[in-house]
Amino acid sequence: MLYCEKYEMPESLECALELLAHAPEGSRLIAGGTDLLPWAREGRAGDVALPMLVDITRVSELDGFEPEGEKIRLGANLVFQKFLEEKSLGNSLPCMPFCAVWFADDQIREQATLVGNLVNASPAADGTSAMLALNGIVETARLDGGKVFRRQVSVDEFVMGPGRTALNSDEIVTGVLCDDLQGYGGAFEKVGHRRSLAISTVCAACLVKPSEDGRTFDDVRLAMAGIGPTPVRLIRSEMFLKGNEISARAIASASEMTAGLVKSRTRKEYRSHVVKGFIGRAIANALENLGIRLPEMEREDRAYA
């Protein structure tokens, strides 16, 4: 059980920062609470008593999302369910609806924030890999001498290890700025131990952009989580594919460029094999979500239909 002496629900960012600045040692921010509450149970942290919880979900500045040039800003209060409900979000961030549909369940998704997922920094988090693929930049705010200071950190640098981030204790994450990739095909692959309420053993976010003639890859983004302390971008595969022809052979070659990617301490061999398979599967599915199908895959579909 998560106990607290005080539960605060500020309605403005300044108010929240103010509360945080003066909060007694050990106080915590809370968004959806879907990481914090289960953490304070037997088998994990057990009962936890905190002096104060500062709930930021009523801070309206942190709500919603908005385009900003070639990017899109996702407010800290944005919950995973929105990636399924808001068409425009799905268009701009084509891997996110697939990421969301695999994430927990419909009910948790109503509470769970993307930013909470990033700050929690679980090696198995689904949101971190997707944000890495989208070149996410985490935006924070803190109060100093009555003034709000803001900074930006790339997701890559923000997530430092299991449960470790570059966030300072007086900072609130206000949102994530990520690439608007309208026109890309997106996919998200995940394997856990079941199909709903599943925690990733490995997950992969993928975005592809074919050339205008549909023959070559203009851009490929691949990021995975569950295979080490932090999510990783598959730069070698991405670089290999960029400008290369869209073919099963090219994809198969890209799938082999996985040396040293898996850093997990457990189930390493398993994860390595899944990583290889997921590269191909994610790219194929991302292409298919744009309506492009490789002939080899057609054949396979027929064989096993």
Binding site: M1, Y3, C4, E5, K6, Y7, M9, I30, G32, G33, T34, L37, P38, R41, E42, G43, D47, L53, L84, G90, P97, F98, V101, W102, A104, D105, D106, Q107, I108, E110, Q111, V191, H193, R194, R195, S196, L197, T201, A248, A252, S255, E269, Y270, H273, V274, K276, G277, F278, G280, R281, A284, E288, N289, R293, E296, M297, E300, D301, Y304, A305
Partner: protein, 965 residues
Amino acid sequence: MRNLEMNLTVNGRKVSKLAKPHARLIDFLRDELNLTGTKEGCGAGECGTCSVFLDGRLVKSCLLPAAKANGSEIETVESLAKAGRLSALQKGFYETGASQCGYCIPGMVMAATATLRENPNAGLEEIKERLGGNICRCTGYSKIFEAVEIARDSLNCSLQNPVDEGFFSSGSFIGTSVRRMDAPSKVSGRLKYAGDMIYPDMLHMQVLRSQHAHARITSIDTSEAERIPGVACVITAEDVPGKDGFGVFVHDQPVMARGVVRYVGEAVAAVAAEDIDTAKSALERIAVAYEPLPAVFNPQEAMQAGAPVIHDYAPDNIVKHIPVRKGDTKREFSRADLIVEETFRTQPVEHAYLEPEAGIANVDYDDVVTVISPSQNITHHRHMLAKIIDKPINKVRFIMSPVGGGFGGKEDMIYQGMLALAAMKSDRPVRLVYTREESIVSTAKRHPATIQYRMALNSTGKVTAAEFRMVSDGGAYGMSTEGVMRKAAILSCGPYDIPNVKVDTIGVYTNNTPSGAFRTFGAMQAQFATESMLDIAAGRLGLDPFEIRRRNMMREGSLTHTRQKLGTVSIDRVLDAAERSSHWEYGAPTVRGPTRKDLGTDGNRLPCTLGARIRRGDQFKSGASRSKVRGRGMAASWYGIARTATIDRAGAWVELDDGGTAKVVTGVTEIGEGILTLLAQIAADELGVRPQDVTIGDNDTARSPEAAHAGATRQTYMIGNSVALACREARSRLDAEIADHWNVPVEIVEAFNGEIWAKGTNFKTTMEDAVDIAKRRGIVPVGSGTFTAKGTGLDPVDGSGSPWQAYVYGCQVAEVEVDLVTGEVQVLGIWAAHDVGRAINPRGIEGQIEGGVVQGLGQALMEHYKQVEGRTSTSGFAKYILPTSLDVPKINSTIIEDRDPLSPLGAKGIGEPSLVPTAPAIINGIYDAVGIRITSLPATPEKVLEALIERRDPESRMHLAIAAE
């Protein structure tokens, strides 16, 4: 601490109340508003029993700080039925029989409501996804999906076939799908489980548990805890006035640890206080000094000389060894054409009933110590508690509260003793509600087993000899281990006539979490091995798997492994039915998956690829099939009905009551399988009334005759028949009066559906009138019945004996899809054929099959209670993985009726048997698909992929498939 001022709307009512700053919405609803339809199955967001609408969005109220609901509008399950009329969805659940124990049902109804609010036209795939956060342990989800589809269609005015109960055509209530009598209270959230009950002046209990796997307790000091304001009492083993000890077979377990703790999670002391938080803080003030003892966690090691001894009475750590000997196996092995040899391992499995343990005890005005709890065996619990608290047996009373799932896990009296002691010591009612973690860590598991198997066959596929040795970890206490070993031994080598068998099953004490009764009681572990062996043998001999079973199956007159001569045997019909319904393609299990022609029929579901609501139509198939291979496997099974190798008995009282209604009183335990409805059907048929006229009395040791435990698939058989016999006696009283009144021979008096008549005459009246006539003549039409099933004990040396008078048989075919990239296995279809004797409620039987299959699937693929040095790493539903709505196959059931000739009704049972063949059918299916033989459960993605990699050679399909991606 600053309390929250809560102002919100709940179910249309404005509410203003204070709440603790840390209160969760579920606490506020249950504790402050007494809206107990919202249940706490896990407290960690993993089960969905707590689902409520917050401003129109469905959320899990156990993860929602109450503060977040301030100013909002909340709808709970209680708001769905308007003016007592069930909503379309609730009606759907009622009509399809989608509620069993009912504990998941309020949350499930809420999730279904959210589904149709979000998309009134949701298709089956979307429905499954949207229910994905709600676990049901009983139903296998099939009837729930059906309920949602029916409600959707009825709301859209396109309902084709309303669910028919079927009795208007049949002229009998037996054999028709009469709707469950308890469903309305379950779908509306009105039914109160023990944890929902409130007594005035009630105290709350918390339990101090051992963190040691094996240690001597050198002292316990409770004085500081006792001084905390609000603490009413602290109890330890010292407070036991009588002879401490309980257990299903040996009474080796004290109410709380007595001098020694033997597993992590064992109760050491308990506190009863004004509220839970006070009780929790008192636990921290109890000082227990431990002296660690050497511990043992592996049954093989525990059997070795010099291993730490867990119980003094058993210096070899053996709880029970059951031998069965028939013929001479040695001779047969020396002349066999084929010998198959393999070792199988099954894992410990958690029952995971959605209702965690809960109970209330008090001492009433007559000094009767009363315990209300979801106990599966109040009869035995009363016996044991009377000795423990040293009271005459009629001063101890057990009342069964509605059981939110049991599956064997609520047969052990693990907490009722503590409640009784605290109520006696404090002289106030005391309530205890377990958390999910507490339930997992402290209660029994399915026995893990290691089975070494040798089978000799001749070239025609006849099994000539089998050697079977099963060693099982019984954990720290005996619980049901003895019985589990016995049943495993008797059923071990399956429903096959094998002339020479040598079977040993050995249950061993260790310092792990105790193992106990769990649906199938050892039969599942044993037959998983047997059915895998037969698949291997069939592959080697080039025989179709049905064929090899037919060549070996038991027939009328066959001798079982314990040398019981069988009467009627239905396995031939069961095999035929499964083969036919699945359209099985004849052939040997030689990895035919990729080429077989019987795959992909409409008995399967679609492979689950997620995203039904976002995917374009044409994308569906491709993602689903890429690098995936299908295959099929089958397995058969058998099972004995009622208590094993002993005399079983049950009793019932019946009264034909005023208004032509009826009271049936029996100590029956409705654990969700629908026995109350069955009994009402039986009583209605026997008495000539309607099922809805029948009231079934409470299961209360002070008010009802002994019917004993819910287990051993004995309820329909034992209690059904005693109710039938009691009804017959009541009817004969009534008939005698009516015959005399009409002046006709009693033999021609008949009754059905609330009417009674004399055949071939004009005499006819209502049952109401008939009862009135009897009473005016000075007769109350009552009856009592007692039914006996005669099993005989097993010989201690060769195991011979006739353990049951009735056997049932089953067979299942599984179609699976193996993902070559991830190693995931999806089970797409199950064709299940089961002999039930006589089907009293076909829909109820389907529900039992569907639930059993999905539990079998969980064991085959994902469930695993893990321990390291006696400490579990799977203490919650986040780590203990249960099948969700997206993991379950389409289940196609065929019911076979081979009536039992030895009982009045002819019905046998289905509760446990439905689970037995599922895991081996799935595992054999995996072999058929990709040629890997999984011998140790569960077949997790990692294990499957590892085996695939091991098998892979340059030519293999798998390699090509990966390369093509």
